[in-house]
Subunit: 459 residues, 2 copies
């Protein structure tokens, strides 16, 4: 080998080592900051325990907007502002009542209205129940077998999936479309087994969607706890003619004004290139939305706090966006994209955390091959932090609408085993979040944003 | 290339693919069995909620021995038996009392005796407190500053470590040796900050060791909760002369007879080659030892249940060993090794689960380079199950004494973030264990044992 080539190789090797060392050093500082000096856990404590649930259009959502804005203002960012967005306002009303009557015996079940559901008549409704395991089974039964009945969707999440989100997505059609399809066949109401892998007594809410159904076909929809579903199924086998009483008084009002909360560190070299990090500030109304998605919001805010603490000024503009209304409309995500188009903004990267505040395992990457390979090549940098999963896939619901030509979108993937124990239920509360797991997620997010900022994306 | 070489290459390629496919298929069956048909969670429920804590020499430990043996007998193994082992018997006695007195004001602190500690005088003891951060600081203070005082060890676990066991091992000398060292300098007692990364009100017990100290130098040792430690430190800054009252009535009795519980599937091809899988059946006395180490026991039992369910008969002998007395003596581990030597047994492999029933992340491997590389090469087989961590390191305390010439030893490594929230404390209870996380750990263990059984170890 010629001497000059050897020297060049040594020089390039030296540069690589230097870059690697600098990146390694920065990731170390990021993790140290997050594990010793973070604000995300006390922020979440306030969001969860002082403010509580934050359903779009609720007083809690309003308070959360003001609180998040005020906290971002303490970080010395270049801009903090609210972005107006009209959101649906659905209110649960009185505690729902559901019981099965066999002769004189009433057995009460833990149920809750699904988000967006209509109410029952004021005195409730009562009908016999037909159990099905799928929308297909419902369709096969047809109107003759369904009309005038309550349809009980009871397909459990499949425990064989190692990743629980896969079990969720292969099961959630019952909740999202069950009422719509049963309504078309003349059913009086639907009861849906909660999307929960655990057997317990919490009914899990979540959006149901009537699509373009006419008003008469829009029937009340309720979730039943997994223990409740097991018991109801057994009870119906013993007494197929038992009737179920359901009462719920939920209501949909006119849309109301709410906000995305935005904070920004303006890029020092490429201010026109925007990197977004975010989660959604709204939650369902039963718990306080600590995992879904208080965790993602405070982790996103923490990224900017970390950069401030370690003195890192991004070259590209880094924008934290706390989206409103992910749960029942994605209005915040759509509005953000609309405004971005109007302002001819150039988004190069978006990172969402909306899978719970559990130990981070990696990233789900929505990008072309070149960018996927580029991000995956950083796996060794993440190795000391036990981040190992770099997979192609869905990024996040709120950043979904962002469609700049070159944008790379990523979702943080925490350990998913416990997520559906809490998802959309009354036990999604602050005590279910571990401080270190939350902080490690924020550090993983900051690390990825730092690497994107340093290295850019492939165009 | 010659045709024959191409054919040979194709043939070898075909064999590799076939082997890979067979292994892939078996791992799939193992995981399916564990996630849909496991007994480990109900086993743990019984151990934790019906039997409860299982400190060596206690009634709970006796019941656990009988229960585990009876459950193993339901699995249709080739042998199930008890192995006698003499264990220490230490009893906590009455609930400990600790308070700081400043003038007429008494502030009560959450404390508990450390395992193996001596009692205070029956009426308790009272002394001023000197706070130190390390054994080195204590030594530097010397007898003049320590004599007649209570020494308060208050070095927190370092949150910067991503892996919490590293934070533990760099901190636990205060608990294990603090009393011994302070006793030599004439201290009256020690109070040790709990080994817990979280701020809460649970004191965490654990073994303290007087070594060869003479009786007069064996002083009472108590743990204080992390919140308690923070408050005590602040209180002492405000009132350095305040005195602390400590009363505990713990006692050490003569050794008693207990047992390791052993179950065996005799190898179909190499019955003389033994693979061990195990955890420890004893626990501390404050909680019910669900994570430490009920989880490891039921996961080890589950491995045999999985093999039975999928119809896998190991070529080598597979032995589950539930060791007695890991917490305060390791007598079970030592006895097992002694008996193994006496019987001239040949152990080729041992796997221990004793780091909690959390989401499994990988394996800590105590082996030579060849075997480490061999095991690490299976990483792609484990990828679908999110097992990514193959590191050299400590395997387990109970299998530590096993020293066959060729043995490969491995410890399951679950996610460690929450472990020290519960470790040795009253909140190490069944509700802190997630069913799926427990089952995934058992499946990872069964998968590794299957691969070792199929491929052997490098000799």
């Amino acid at each position: 080998m010629k001497k000059s080539i050897v020297l060049a190789a040594l020089f390039i090797g030296g540069l690589t080592t230097f870059a690697q060392t600098k990146d390694e050093q920065t990731l170390k500082e990021i993790y140290k900051s997050s594990l010793t000096n973070a604000k995300c856990y006390p922020w979440l404590e306030h969001l969860s325990n002082t403010i509580g649930s934050r359903l779009s259009g609720s007083a809690g959502a309003d308070k959360a907007v003001l609180y998040a804005k005020a906290q971002l203002e303490t970080l010395g960012l270049d801009k903090v502002y609210l972005q107006e967005v009209m959101v649906p306002k659905w209110v649960r009303g009185e505690k729902e009542i559901g019981y099965l009557q066999t002769g004189n015996q009433k057995v009460i079940f833990p149920i809750c209205a699904l988000g967006g559901s209509v109410a029952t008549p004021k005195t409730g409704l009562k009908a016999t129940v037909i159990e099905v395991k799928s929308l297909e089974e419902l369709a096969a039964l047809g109107e003759a077998n369904v009309k005038g009945k309550i349809v009980f969707f009871n397909r459990p999440m499949n425990p064989e999936f190692v990743e629980t989100f896969k079990a969720y997505s292969s099961c959630v059609d019952q909740r999202s479309s069950g009422a719509k399809e049963a309504g078309k066949l003349g059913a009086l109401a639907v009861i849906v087994r909660s999307m929960n892998l655990r057997l317990d007594d919490f009914p899990h809410t979540g959006a149901t969607n009537y699509g373009d159904s006419v008003e008469e076909q829009r029937i009340p929809a309720a979730a039943i706890s997994t223990n409740g579903a097991e018991l109801l199924s057994k009870s119906l086998q013993a007494n197929p003619n038992a009737s179920f009483y359901l009462k719920q008084s939920c209501q949909t009002f006119d849309d109301v004004l709410s906000y995305n909360v935005v904070g920004e560190m303006t890029g020092t070299e490429y201010p026109e290139q925007i990197m977004v990090v975010g989660g959604h500030l709204d939650s369902w109304d039963l718990g306080d939305g600590s995992h879904d998605d208080g965790a993602g919001c405070v982790q996103s805010m923490e990224v900017l706090n970390i950069f401030k603490n370690i003195g890192y000024k991004p070259k590209n503009t880094l924008r934290v966006v706390l989206f409103m209304n992910e749960e029942n409309g994605v209005r915040g995500g759509k509005e953000y994209e609309d405004q971005s188009n109007k302002n001819k903004e150039n988004h190069i990267f978006a990172l969402e955390s909306d899978s719970g505040g559990f130990s981070p395992r990696g990233f789900s990457i929505d990008a072309d091959e070149a960018n996927f390979n580029k991000i995956s090549s950083w796996v060794t940098l993440f190795e000391p932090y036990l981040i190992h999963k770099f997979v192609k896939g869905h990024s996040g619901v709120d950043i979904g609408p962002l469609k700049s030509k070159q944008i790379v979108k990523v979702g943080l993937q925490p350990d998913s085993q416990r997520y559906f124990d809490y998802h959309h239920a009354a036990n999604d509360t602050f005590d279910a979040v571990n401080k270190r797991e939350l902080e490690l997620g924020a550090a993983a997010m900051a690390s990825l944003l730092y690497l994107i900022d340093q290295n850019g994306i492939q165009k």
